[in-house]
């Protein structure tokens, strides 16, 4: 007979917190767990739908049980049992502290300075962490038109720390975006038409020092240096630095690479698979646990 979720909960502490081997996890799992590692136990996190949401839920279930999760539709600190498919899913509202709306989340929380971490997606990113989720080509007759900002530009500029998850392709990692939805560490000063450090454009506001600190892609993890420029921090298992440079539209700084990205541990994978997305919504692909672990789970 299958175990109840309560029995599964009791198992968590018995699952080894050791890195899984190649082939024992899929790339989206690794990425979700990279996201989870960005979350601190005392963070107030504002996350978008999809892998960011899956990642912060994983964090909330492992390394950051006290992190406060905000969803833009108005949810404050929901204690989720079933993974939400949207930021307005009633599943995300379960046992929340308060339920409000966008004025609460973007005004009372975000613009008011309470949000310490934002986790977002992006269609393209520039070397200073500026993000484009609007359009490619001429704005008024684009080659590609995306959804537009949503909360990306708000959260991406006013959360204290911001992290992005982006698919790594040459056309998505750019020296300069064609349209900057969410400014990174350098951006346009529209009053003068100049390209300037965010710190100057936002000078005097409370958010001048807020901005991107991490990017997670399907190939590696990134951080930002003192000048606000992105650099490669680690490469995912099976990926080479050379491959990463080939999939980057600008001359990527790889001088600070620390090595291979930490593989997810069995405990992390167990929580992700059994508690975050057991319905196989966001991570529909399935890789078996190693036999010994499966035996432990079966009891």
């Amino acid at each position: 007979m299958a175990k109840s979720m309560e029995q599964m909960m009791e198992l968590i502490e018995k699952i080894p917190d050791e890195p899984a081997k190649p082939g024992e996890f899929i790339l989206p799992e690794l990425m979700a767990i990279q996201i989870a590692h960005q979350v601190r136990n005392d963070d107030i996190v504002f996350a978008g739908t999809g892998l960011p949401m899956v990642g912060i839920m994983t964090a909330n279930f492992i390394n950051a049980p006290n992190a406060l999760l905000i969803y833009e539709s108005g949810i404050c600190d929901g204690k989720t049992m079933h993974v939400p498919m949207s930021v307005c899913d009633q599943r995300a509202a379960n046992m929340s502290s308060t339920l409000g709306g966008l004025v609460d989340t973007f005004g009372y929380y975000l613009q008011n300075g309470y949000v310490s971490l934002g986790f977002l997606g992006g269609a393209a990113i520039d070397k200073y962490g500026g993000v484009n989720v609007t359009s490619i080509g001429d704005y008024y007759s684009p080659g590609h038109r995306f959804t537009g900002s949503g909360g990306n530009s708000d959260i991406g500029t006013m959360a204290h720390r911001v992290a992005y998850i982006i698919l790594q392709e040459k056309r998505r990692f750019l020296d300069r975006n064609e349209y900057t939805t969410t400014p990174g560490w350098w951006c346009w000063d529209h009053k003068t038409g100049e390209w300037k450090p965010k710190k100057e454009v936002w000078k005097g506001t409370a958010y001048a020092n807020s901005g991107p600190v991490a990017v997670v892609t399907n190939m590696g993890n990134y951080a930002f240096d003192e000048k606000g420029e992105i650099y490669l921090k680690s490469f995912h298992p099976g990926v080479t630095v050379e491959q990463i440079k080939e999939n980057c539209g600008f001359n990527l700084n790889v001088s600070r690479v620390e090595g291979e990205t930490k593989k997810p541990t069995y405990k992390e994978l167990f929580v992700l698979r059994e508690f975050v997305d057991p319905e196989l919504i966001f991570l529909p692909q399935k890789v078996d646990y190693p036999a010994s672990l499966q035996k432990l789970i079966n009891g």
């Binding site: 307005c88 007759s141 959804t147 951006c187 936002w202 529909p284």
Partner: protein
């Protein structure tokens, strides 16, 4: 928008057809309740709007939804002033019809961000002409070149379209650098789907509010669609639970399952497979035509639409009275597990 009224509104109870005929018209500037395709979309009203053949709408909103998907599928939107032009996160991020029509030059998109639209509706709701908002300086959202309504020559001609998209100014009270003034949002019509509405118009939902309270106040006319119309005195037993006071409401429509395929917390869940199918048909003109014929022009009434879904689907979607959502419906490849307690609670000791 501020307009001195000389008398109280009196909300009329109407049928869906009557309400749509009375309040919706070609060229109307409209806002729709809920959030993305998942929560309290007044889909029945959008459905009726398309059946009535309404065109050239100016949608001013905080999101795309099942409503805008349908309106775009029918080519009913001329101006789309919003911040997120997908409609259901899981069912294809971007609205395919929207992209198709936009690229053909058949519609105007005016981009803002979620926070900006929230602030614009807040300003509209409190009767303020504008509101300052900090984010995001340096974004192309506030690049003077990218003012789509201005470029189309539509500013300063219509009482509902402000003369400027935004104004960047130096913050004068605290020395806090620059800030961006955003004009109030002032729709003509707000369409709001709620859980319960009193027979005088006092309305309530559970779950998130998104910006539905704000759009109800910011708009001139308000149509409330409710799962249940109940005696007003029942709504008055817990006034703290009500979000919309009766005096802003013009029409009340009782419309059970009217937000399908989106959810109404504590009534029913969203239908993810139905939404995935909507997204799928939108990728092919013929499939979409068939879908519209079957689901929009086929049923004679909204009740027929719901009956067509079948009892099994209604049973599966019925919300649990404790959590407000369903654990019986199939959302992914496996059924939802039964849980007594969120893992985060177990880990943090709430």
């Amino acid at each position: 928008m501020p307009r001195l009224r000389t008398q109280t509104k009196k909300a009329q109870i109407m049928s869906l057809e009557e309400a749509c005929k009375t309040f919706m018209h070609d060229g109307a500037m409209v806002a729709w309740s809920g959030f993305t395709g998942f929560n309290r979309n007044p889909f029945a009203f959008a459905w009726q709007t398309v059946r009535q053949g309404v065109k050239n709408l100016h949608v001013i909103d905080r999101h795309g939804s099942c409503c805008t998907w349908l309106l775009n599928a029918a080519g009913a939107i001329k101006v789309y002033e919003t911040d997120w032009m997908g409609w259901g996160e899981m069912a294809g991020k971007l609205d395919v019809n929207l992209e198709r029509r936009y690229k053909k030059g058949e519609m105007i998109l005016e981009d803002y961000s979620h926070g900006a639209m929230a602030m614009r509706f807040l300003a509209g709701a409190v009767g303020a002409p504008f509101i300052p908002y900090n984010a995001p300086l340096g974004s192309d959202l506030y690049n003077p070149k990218y003012d789509a309504l201005g470029r189309a020559g539509m500013r300063g001609k219509d009482a509902r379209i402000p003369k400027k998209k935004f104004i960047q100014m130096e913050e004068p009270f605290w020395g806090e650098g620059d800030t961006v003034l955003l004009p109030a949002a002032r729709p003509e019509l707000a369409i709001i789907h709620v859980a319960q509405c009193g027979d005088k118009g006092t309305a309530r939902w559970r779950g998130v509010g998104t910006i539905d309270k704000e759009i109800a106040y910011a708009a001139d006319k308000v149509v409330v669609l409710a799962e249940e119309v109940v005696p007003e005195s029942e709504m008055r037993k817990l006034p703290e639970g009500n979000q919309i006071p009766y005096f802003v409401v013009d029409a009340i429509v009782e419309c059970p399952w009217g937000a399908f395929p989106s959810s109404v917390p504590f009534y029913y869940d969203y239908d993810a497979p139905f939404m995935r199918d909507m997204d799928k048909v939108s990728r092919n003109v013929d499939d979409q035509k068939k879908w519209l014929d079957e689901w929009v022009f086929g049923p004679k009434t909204w009740e027929e639409f719901i009956v067509k879904l079948g009892a099994k689907r209604l049973l599966d979607l019925k919300a649990d009275s404790v959590t407000g959502y369903s654990t019986r419906m199939m959302r992914g490849k496996k059924p939802a597990p039964r849980m007594k307690m969120p893992l985060s609670v177990a880990m943090s000791g709430y």
